[in-house]
């Protein structure tokens, strides 16, 4: 039992946990640390358990079997420490930030919240009402309205990324009981493929000791359940089944002064796909930064928008994602902005990238990644990203090689294969009545 002996691999010290991995990294920052991590879960999306998981994580920090919510809050708040637990489809993630001296206290609090939450009936009602209010608030945000509507155009309802209409979500949330929460926690919370990263002014050996005390004895839950094997449950999603017919939805948002547009289609690429890095590179060139093609053309050259960008949904090994292009347009620029954006995407898909552009963007991507590691949070998130996806402890060091290995032929083939301008669904949210 306990943590196996560490193998020091350069800057990151990697430890084996009985049911997971711990990555600890000492950084020359004054007396601070960031802890991030996650474990696997198996919500039944077709039964709305994505929302149930949201409710469970909201309640997880509302007291444990040992301390009520106020005692737990006092321990953290009086030290200025922050601790949060969040739902992320088939994983639950957690993060904490605090002064280095408070590491033992934070790990103890985290372990209590994850392993033995209290789930009081009173707290249940408060958190249920709070989540419903937040859903209503979320539903009034144009960008969220566009993204949610796009998800409904791109995915079948049982897909983890499908966002149901807000009324349906509220109705579902209202039906859950505290017993549902307890059952879900019992069945899903455990050291399932557990990954923990701690970066900052810490001693890796001390981190390992604290994790050993509080987390190492945590067992996996019944995970993954035999009815939901990890890799095939959502493999049926096939973006080509969507066809190439253009679909445009218009949603009125009275009182707003601009339009928010989301364009997108599914991409059948997961993070272990051979073309994953090529598609990542393609998105980087198309719209993932301030000197991307979309920004250079639609904003800088034509002056049609303030905000434009593209993104690939965070990749997982278990299910597909989609490509999304977002932009903001003033009413007098709506048509011209849409035409220019679609034209830029079509040009990119048709002609691909030159070797000079690829070389320049590879250098930029590597530089931006390195600069992103300048914060403890960016550093720990990047390590966790690699750890969750099986890229290993050296992901942050190997990123440059991964990007450098993308060659022109692979990149342009991937763009031609996976970016389908004619297959983009469009959601436009804004003041249609006034227009």
């Amino acid at each position: 039992m306990g943590i196996a002996r560490p193998s020091n691999r350069g800057e990151i010290v990697e430890f084996s946990l009985p049911h997971g991995r711990l990555y600890a990294l000492r950084v020359d920052t004054p007396s601070l640390f960031v802890l991030t991590g996650s474990f696997g879960t198996a919500p039944a999306f077709e039964h709305g358990e994505a929302l149930l998981q949201e409710l469970v994580v909201a309640l997880a920090t509302c007291g444990s079997q040992r301390r009520n919510q106020f005692e737990l809050a006092d321990a953290l708040e009086s030290r200025g420490a922050s601790l949060s637990i969040e739902s992320e489809m088939r994983r639950v993630s957690f993060s904490a930030q605090a002064c280095s001296a408070d590491l033992p206290m934070v790990v103890e609090a985290l372990a209590e919240c994850l392993r033995e939450p209290r789930f009081d009936t009173d707290n249940f009602a408060v958190e249920q009402a709070r989540l419903i209010a937040e859903l209503h608030h979320h539903a009034a945000e144009p960008a969220a309205m566009a993204a949610d509507a796009l998800s409904r155009a791109v995915y079948p309802p049982e897909h983890p990324r499908y966002q149901a209409e807000i009324a349906a979500q509220v109705s579902l949330l209202e039906r859950f009981t505290v017993d549902d929460v307890r059952r879900y926690h019992r069945d899903n919370f455990g050291a399932n493929d557990l990954r923990v990263v701690v970066a900052g002014d810490i001693d890796p050996a001390v981190v390992a000791f604290e994790l050993d005390r509080r987390i190492a004895s945590w067992s996996p839950s019944c995970w993954p359940p035999s009815s939901q094997p990890l890799r095939s449950t959502y493999a049926s999603f096939d973006p080509s089944a969507l066809g190439d017919s253009e679909r445009t939805m218009r949603i009125d948002a009275p009182g707003r002064d601009n339009f928010v547009v989301a364009l997108g289609h599914g991409v059948g690429i997961r993070c272990d796909h051979p073309d994953y890095m090529a598609i990542w590179m393609a998105n980087h060139i198309l719209g993932a930064n301030f000197s991307s093609r979309l920004v250079a053309s639609v904003r800088e050259e034509k002056g049609l928008t303030y905000a434009i960008g593209s993104q690939l949904t965070k990749p997982f090994r278990e299910f597909d994602g989609h490509w999304q292009i977002d932009l903001s347009l003033s009413p007098d620029k709506l048509d011209a902005g849409l035409v220019a954006t679609r034209a830029e995407i079509a040009e990119f898909a048709e002609h691909g990238v030159s070797s000079e552009e690829l070389a320049a963007k590879q250098q930029q991507a590597i530089g931006a990644f390195q600069i992103g590691l300048a914060t403890l949070y960016g550093l720990s998130e990047s390590i966790l990203f690699g750890a969750e996806r099986g890229f290993g402890a050296h992901y942050i060091r190997e990123f440059s090689d991964k990007v450098g290995r993308v060659n022109l032929a692979q990149l342009n083939r991937s763009i031609a294969e996976h970016l389908r301008p004619a297959g983009l669904s469009a959601v436009i949210v804004g003041p249609f009545d006034r227009s």
Partner: protein
């Protein structure tokens, strides 16, 4: 934290040698002045990563704008990325050509009291960032075609914010609180303001404020002091100082004293309810602002705060928080709450008022003050994660009038006593300093912003 640091080199000797006058060191930050033109230089060596941040903060923001130039500070911020004499797209030497290709983060922000430009770069490109900033400090280009394109970009930025109900609520509350002061005007300006900004007006604004003696250069990162001195001298020392007066002559008139409570309402369809209570607070350098920050924490931060049980646990609100705008002139101390579904604005407002009344009447307990201090200290420390976060906090302190506000914040928070919290509640959290804002679901009919209604209750 407040003590001068021990330097491995004598900064006085090195600085004098290079024509840069050493001023002081506080909290790991060294302050210098360029002898030639009076530009302030702040230097914070850190060694966590092989990168550096270079930031220029200008003492100009929307507070310095008069009729005809509203929105000029922000528009100039945008035009500064379109090119300067030596660094521009025609010569393939713009920021997009030189800094973005190496992954640098180069961005800027404009606010009420200041405009700042920051570049987070690999160490190899620190000098390029310094050259660009030095050139665009005095040699901005505004090509007519660039201005037209960028004006459309800024108009879209304006439209994004102008239609946002929370932004509307915030703007109308500031406008009603400061009807005769530039703080009451949106930083971006109105649509008409932006459309009316000519090249000549922009240049007039630029040439009034973009001078080394109206700027602070901040360098943070894995940089040797000698290298920083060399960079500063090479690229900034030759820039001339402004010959016209900066500072006092540019200060707008003080706001007339408020005589009573003011109210404003924003109506919008499909919108959650919000309540905002905004009290005029002292300028950002005042010690009373520290006490107000602690008071805000005691009121709203976390499950042990005064408002958690009556607002959140009761379901009246889904969230509540407080903020203190630490500005050059008096700002606003704001408490705002997002209401629970179908909850009543008046009841939420009354709950917040009662919690403030209780502090005015009975003060705060030692244990809750200590908890608030611990929370603020911890959140201050953890929020300083990386050069950009540190630079932006220093930037706010510069804008408030003294960069050492950043370096001394933890000590100042520690020095606040329970009596101070009660005293500032008595002094500032009173009806004659209060503006109340409600964001409500639009009634049948026109809806939209009820600025007229707000004006009517002044």
């Amino acid at each position: 934290m407040n003590a001068a640091i021990d330097l491995d080199l004598d900064p006085n000797r090195d600085a004098a040698h290079s024509g840069i006058r050493y001023v002081r060191s506080i909290g790991g930050i060294e302050e210098y002045r360029l002898s030639e033109n009076g530009m302030r230089v702040l230097f914070m060596p850190t060694h966590a990563a092989p990168i550096a941040l270079l930031m220029l903060t200008y003492d100009v923001g929307s507070r310095h704008e008069s009729a005809g130039s509203k929105g000029a500070s922000h528009m100039i911020e945008h035009m500064m990325f379109k090119g300067s004499a030596r660094f521009n797209k025609e010569q393939k030497a713009s920021i997009f050509d030189l800094l973005h290709p190496v992954g640098a983060q180069a961005n800027a922000t404009t606010w009420l009291d200041r405009t700042n430009y920051f570049n987070l770069v690999p160490l190899t490109h620190l000098e390029t960032a310094a050259e660009i900033e030095a050139d665009r400090m005095r040699n901005l280009r505004i090509a007519p075609g660039d201005l037209d394109a960028e004006r459309a970009v800024v108009l879209n930025e304006h439209d994004m914010y102008a239609g946002d109900p929370l932004e509307k609520l915030n703007q109308i509350v500031w406008h009603v609180a400061f009807p005769d002061h530039p703080y009451g005007h949106p930083v971006l300006g109105s649509r008409d303001d932006i459309i009316g900004l000519t090249r000549e007006r922009l240049f007039a604004h630029y040439h009034r404020y973009y001078w080394p003696n109206n700027a602070t250069l901040t360098v943070i990162g894995d940089v040797e002091r000698e290298r920083m001195f060399a960079l500063v001298r090479k690229h900034f020392a030759q820039l001339p100082a402004a010959e016209h007066a900066l500072g006092a002559d540019d200060e707008p008139e003080a706001e007339h004293e408020q005589q009573g409570e003011r109210r404003a309402t924003v109506e919008q369809a499909d919108q959650s309810g919000w309540v905002m209570l905004a009290y005029k607070m002292p300028n950002g350098l005042s010690a009373d602002a520290d006490a107000l920050e602690l008071l805000g924490s005691i009121l709203t931060a976390g499950k042990l705060s005064r408002l958690y049980r009556p607002l959140i646990a009761s379901g009246l609100a889904a969230s509540v928080w407080a903020s203190a705008a630490r500005l050059k002139r008096q700002g606003l101390f704001q408490v705002q709450a997002m209401l629970g579904s179908g909850q009543d604005h008046r009841r939420a407002e009354q709950t917040i008022r009662e919690a403030i009344d209780a502090i005015r009447r009975d003060g705060v307990a030692q244990d809750e003050l200590q908890r608030a201090k611990g929370r603020l200290r911890g959140s201050l420390l953890t929020s300083r994660d990386g050069p950009v976060a540190i630079a932006l906090q220093i930037n706010d302190a510069i804008a408030a009038g003294d960069w050492t506000l950043y370096a001394t914040s933890i000590d100042r928070i520690a020095a606040v006593e329970a009596a101070d919290v009660q005293r500032v509640a008595h002094r500032y959290l009173i009806d004659k300093r209060l503006t109340v804002g409600h964001l409500i679901q639009e009634a049948e009919g026109d809806g939209a912003l009820s600025s007229e209604r707000a004006a009517a209750v002044l």
